[in-house]
Symmetry: C2
Amino acid sequence: MTSFLIEDVPGYTPQIGRLVGMMKYVRATTLQAVRRMTQAQLDHVQDTESNSIGALLAHIAAVEVAYQVITFERRELNDEENARWGVALDLGEAARREIKAQPLEHYTRVLEEVRERTFREFENRVDDWLYEQSKWGPGMANNYFMWFHVFEDELSHRGQIRWLKKRALSHQ
Amino acid sequence: MTSFLIEDVPGYTPQIGRLVGMMKYVRATTLQAVRRMTQAQLDHVQDTESNSIGALLAHIAAVEVAYQVITFERRELNDEENARWGVALDLGEAARREIKAQPLEHYTRVLEEVRERTFREFENRVDDWLYEQSKWGPGMANNYFMWFHVFEDELSHRGQIRWLKKRALSHQ
């Protein structure tokens, strides 16, 4: 069952464990929102400006990949990674064109593979790492913030997924 | 400027400070999303099932009030509180009917007043308090989780607000 306790998590240092707890809860709610959705529902585009639920799921995985590279490797995405993840990162027109015609398992498998790497890397780090800073937008962010940002972006899109889902279900 | 550092915050114990940092960032992004919105835009209802942006802002404040009562006072909302906050908590039909015709300042003032109490109470508590548990849905939640839940719900609705905002602006 999903835990409603944010606390120490075995295998992680205390602060990283709390982050892991929040990330796991967020992911459980994202997966709950898309449970049993059909390919047609995942591809539903509400209007000409809207992202499909499938594209939002791909985006959630892509954002996590981007922050893996930024925080674990201290670099930007390279060309190969941009070719793989750029469309999902940017959403919009290209995503509407390219991210479609896949079953739910396609998206959840990618989410899972990406998440596995995150947690494996977290296991090998200690809390002090969370407070290392690097340039972010107009200021400096620490790694704690950047991983908070990964799940806050997921939540924002989960909210959109919930909204779109009601409409996707009633359209099919 | 909004901080991109999750770390100790003066006036709060370490863990509470981290929560405060996350809550402040979330709120800054919510307020950014609605900045300069007109009454008509706040009242825009996308379709018959949709909540207005104004109602979502009222909901965000109401959820925070509910968790103040639950975590600070260890009780449920009483009748008077339900009369004041119930419609915003529940959203849907009654909220579409009753929460409207207010300028942005109405919503931001309520958000601010509610938030002031939260932070005042946080100042008087220590990290151990975050790990006190109480019944929550099908299980037990600690106070850390419940305040995480307050901002994760806000983020979910902020995602919806961003989506609705694009359409509200193009409708007026």
